[in-house]
Structures are given as C-alpha cells and as structure tokens.
C-alpha cells in the first residue's frame, strides 16, 4: 500500500523514519550541557550566583535577561 502510493507520487516526502535513540543520546547530552551553560550565563550569572568576578556579564546581558523572562532587579 505504502509502496504503491510512493511509486504513484514520486515527489512526495518519504514516510518519516525515526532516528534510533542510541544515535541520539550522545548529542542529547551535548545539547543539554550547551543549553545549561548558555541559559546560566544569560539568565543567572552575576545575579543570583557568580562564577566570573565583577559585574560585566550581568551588565551586558541585563536587558536580554529582563526581556527573556529571567529574574533581575
């Protein structure tokens, strides 16, 4: 059935094929680390907690922090 419809409309998109979970996992871990670091620096660094000394991270990200929804002052 799928074969017939695929042959009759050669330009239609193929049936969706899922990416196996074991291929996904390492990238999911990498992506999670990436988003945690980015959201931490945009949303919390030199506000609630501070890893880098000074106030410049807070000052630079300040307006974005407010507008993206993170608590500030």
């Amino acid at each position: 059935m799928a074969q017939v419809s695929a042959l009759s409309t050669p330009h239609s998109a193929p049936a969706p094929v899922a990416i196996p979970l074991r291929d996904l996992l390492p990238w999911a871990v990498f992506g999670l680390l990436l988003v945690l670091v980015a959201v931490y620096f945009v949303g919390a660094e030199q506000g609630a907690t501070s890893l880098v000394s000074g106030h410049w991270v807070h000052e630079v990200t300040h307006d974005g922090r407010h507008i993206l929804g993170f608590p500030c002052h």
């Binding site: 799928a2 074969q3 695929a6 042959l7 050669p10 330009h11 239609s12 998109a13 193929p14 049936a15 969706p16 094929v17 899922a18 990416i19 979970l21 291929d23 996904l24 990238w27 999911a28 990498f30 992506g31 999670l32 990436l34 988003v35 670091v37 980015a38 959201v39 620096f41 945009v42 949303g43 919390a44 506000g47 609630a48 907690t49 000074g54 106030h55 410049w56 000052e59 630079v60 990200t61 300040h62 307006d63 974005g64 922090r65 407010h66 507008i67 993206l68 929804g69 993170f70 608590p71 500030c72 002052h73």
Partner: protein, 246 residues
Amino acid sequence: MTARTLLVRGMLVGVVAGLLAVAFSSLFGEPQINNAIAYEAAHTPPGDHEHELVSRTLQATVGLAVAVLVYGAALGGVFGLAFAFAYGRLGRLGARPTALLVAAVGFVAVYAAPFVKYPASPPAVGNPDTIGRRTALYFLMIVVSVAVAIVATLVGRSLNRRLDTWTASLVAVAVFVAVVALAGLVLPAVDEVPGDFSATLLWRFRLASLGTQLVLWTTFGLLFGALTERSLRRQADKTPQAAAVG
C-alpha cells in the same frame, strides 16, 4: 538525516530567530525598560546611583543582541534535538507539522507555563535582596514544566496504543495542565511590584517579553520545518527507491 545535522540546523535557525527577536524586543521591549529605569532613577536617593560599567546605550543594543542570540542559538540547538526525537515517532506526521508541534510544546513548557507563575518583570520591579530566591524559584518552575511536558508526551504516546490519537493527546495536555497548575499552587508567590509602579508599563513590558519569546519559537518551528522538509525532498529525489522503504 542525523542528530548532528539537526542540532547544527537548530542552532543556525536559532541565530536567525534570535535576530528577529532582537528586532522585536528593541522595538517593543526597550522603550518599557527605559521607562522602568526612569522610574527607578526617580526613586533612588541622589548620590546613591551605582557607577555604570556598561553604558545604557550599549546594554540596549549590543548587550541585548548578545543575550538574545546566545539564548536563541542554544535553545534552537535543543529544539533541533527535540525534533530529532519526535520526527518519525508521531505516526506519519511530516517534518513541517512535527517542527511546529515541537515548537509549540517548547514555547509552553520552557516559557509560557513558568511565565504564568513567575512573569517577566522590568527593572525596578523586584527587590535586589531576593534575587537568589527568585532565580531559584523561576528555574525550578522551568525544570518542573519541562519535565512534566516530557512525561505527559510519553504518557500520551503509550495511551495512543489503546486510545485514538485525538483522545490520547487530550489526556497528555490534561496531565500537563493539572501537574503544572498544582506546582504553581504549591510554590511560593513572588510579588514585589512597588505600589506606585505604572500598571500600564508593567503590562506592556510583559507583553513585549511574551512577544519576544513567541517570535523565537515561531521562527524555530516554521523555518526549521521548511529547511528540513526541503532537505528531505532533495534526498528523496536523489534516491527515488528510498521513498518506498519504511
């Protein structure tokens, strides 16, 4: 189509979405931030003003762009990975509707649901002494909301074996709304708006924040879906017999 391709595509789409969101927030958000800072300055005793490390002009342009672009690229990357998980696991749903669905769920789980409990606030709203508590509560709300969204999706998928897709989806949405509403009820409230702060200004700022996030996620969904659909069609055209497999 690999997870790596989708992660990279998600980050690139995230940069484009970030640029659109920067444009939107400069037009609609910055005027409200400036009004709030004017209110703040009027209520600070003279001589109590902190020395500016980064000028207001720089904060409102380069600073805004850096923050929103970093956020857009990072969330776009994770969006690409969420798409990589969802695609092919939602029946015959194609790339474009899958991308839009993932974006809608992401917008609600990452921003809209936490916003209902702890809405975005302009400068001068919020006591500097409670920043630690407010940040912890906001991040907790995001973690709860995202975790419940993932669990609800898996519940809906497993119910889909016995129930039809429409009913299973409604149950998943109901699970999400019920658990997140309960979390909102249990978590402590944050109300630090000064008594004489303009309600109109607060409303406009919050709308601008909501709009900025909506621009981001809509772009994720539509642009990522369109690019992925195009690359899938190209692959199918190159290997016509592949269309019959699976």
